[in-house]
């Protein structure tokens, strides 16, 4: 019997109250430590998660913008090549697809015209401009661009702009106003305000194509001052943001002063495009004045 009692007691021992309290305190402390560990873990994971989330959102933004930039440069280069390779009708009223029209290579046409007096006739400018407008048509609504043929200073020729073509969007500050028919209209504002956006006001063409660099209003149609116009163009390009530019050398012939032959003038053809931008300091009025001397392609006189 005593043996059995001893056997049972070795498994069953009356619990001491002090032991029990100590055990509870120990368990509670262990539980608190586990919660604290878990909270630290949560803190670390939250940090990692925020980093991962931010990284996922910003991932590819640089690659995306590089791809767009590359495409714009590609487009500009291709457009310049296409402009210079193209054939054109010699009569601006005719089409390239008109079988009765006289077709020539654009560069041949330009060279022939330039060789007389180092200037381009209005018909040549129109043909050149129409060709550029057609080629740049896919990006015309989103981009502004400038196509320039210029002659750098040489032994026998002064610096000059032979042809300046400016495609400019008519963006300006506008206010969105309800038209009463459930739609909205863009009304022009004089200057940007808090509730204005950049847009094309009602009744205004989205863009205008200008030919610049010659004093159209004067009978002798003198070219604009080269340095002044160069400064204006550089100033314009420095304020429009990212640009994509492509340029190519072209040989233009010029009649020799003392002889029957021609001399080659190394000219430069440049095409620069940029996202259509509102330019507060290049207004239509300023474009009409020197040194820009721009006129709408439809009103070109010289």
């Amino acid at each position: 019997m005593d043996q059995m009692k001893g056997f049972i007691l070795q498994f069953y021992r009356p619990v001491d109250k002090r032991d029990m309290n100590a055990s509870r305190a120990h368990a509670r402390a262990r539980g608190q430590a586990a919660v604290t560990d878990a909270l630290y873990f949560l803190l670390i994971v939250t940090g990692i998660t925020i980093f991962l989330f931010g990284f996922a959102n910003s991932y590819g933004v640089t690659v995306d913008s590089e791809l767009v930039k590359n495409y714009n440069v590609d487009f500009t280069t291709d457009a310049l090549k296409t402009i210079l390779y193209s054939s054109v009708p010699r009569d601006p009223e005719q089409s390239l697809y008109d079988n009765s029209g006289e077709i020539d290579h654009l560069l041949a046409y330009v060279k022939e015209d330039f060789s007389d007096n180092s200037k381009l006739e209005p018909a040549t400018k129109k043909v050149l401009a129409q060709n550029i407008i057609g080629i740049m048509n896919p990006v015309a609504n989103n981009f502004d661009y400038l196509f320039i043929i210029s002659v750098p200073e040489g032994f026998t020729n002064p610096e000059s702009f032979v042809f300046v073509f400016f495609h400019k969007s008519n963006l300006r500050p506008v206010k969105i106003v309800e038209d009463g028919l459930g739609g909205y209209e863009y009304h022009p504002e004089d200057a940007p305000k808090r509730d204005t956006i950049m847009g094309i006001p009602e009744g205004v063409l989205p863009f205008t194509d200008y030919v610049c660099g010659y004093e159209q209003a004067l009978p002798d149609c003198n070219p604009s001052d080269y340095d002044a116009l160069k400064i204006e163009i550089d100033s314009l390009l420095s304020g429009v943001g990212d640009t994509s530019q492509s340029s190519s050398k072209i040989n233009l012939p010029k009649t020799e002063i003392n002889g029957p032959g021609f001399e080659a003038v190394q000219a430069q053809a440049e095409l620069t495009i940029w996202n259509a931008t509102y330019l507060s300091d290049v207004t239509a009025n300023e474009l009409n004045q020197a040194p820009w001397n721009c006129v709408d392609i439809l009103q070109i006189t010289c």
Partner: protein, 186 residues
């Protein structure tokens, strides 16, 4: 009375398991979101790069000397996991000619005729092949998927369009046109 409050090895740590599980949940949710974002963006970039490569091969030096030259370039393409349609069109440079209108057509008429015309539906320009009287017109089109392309298809399928200017020699006239490449992965 013995072991009062003891719920077992897991039950005892229950309060600490809640933030732990919550942390694991948000971690895997964010991981899964990030992974799908990476995957989606990478697919987009790969598609863009493939389109650039297709366009680079097709346009060459930007001077397409004829149908055979274009066909040779087209046959040299073999993109994987990408379906595309590339056409050379005169829609942008000779809109009236493309729409079958007279050259002096008013702007309103041109706009009305081109209403609803999408870049992926543009018709290819047909160049003259051979000499009269055995000459024929062949379209400058290169595609890998023969399935019907329509606005309904493209409203459900993400696609990329790239346009590049180039010239095409047709009947000894060098005509400015555009290469339009439309690509999708579905």
């Amino acid at each position: 009375m013995l072991n009062k409050g003891f719920l077992g090895p897991i039950g005892d740590d229950l309060p600490s398991l809640i933030p732990l599980l919550f942390a694991l949940l948000i971690f895997f949710a964010t991981f899964s979101f990030s992974y799908s974002t990476f995957s989606q963006k990478n697919t987009g970039f790969q598609r863009d790069l493939d389109v650039l490569n297709i366009a680079r091969v097709l346009k060459g030096t930007n001077y397409v000397s004829g149908y055979q030259a274009f066909l040779d370039s087209c046959n040299s393409l073999n993109p994987t996991n990408l379906k595309y349609r590339a056409v050379i069109t005169n829609y942008f440079t000779a809109t009236t000619q493309y729409l079958g209108l007279p050259d002096a057509a008013p702007k309103e008429q041109i706009e009305a005729a081109s209403l609803g015309l999408k870049s992926y539906m543009l018709e290819p320009f047909s160049v003259t092949v051979g000499t009269p009287p055995d000459d024929e017109k062949k379209p400058l089109e290169c595609r890998v998927d023969a399935s019907g392309l329509n606005p309904g298809f493209f409203s459900e399928t993400p696609f990329v369009v790239k346009i590049y200017p180039l010239v095409v020699e047709d009947d000894r006239v060098v005509k400015p046109m555009h290469l339009v490449v439309v690509a999708w992965t579905k």
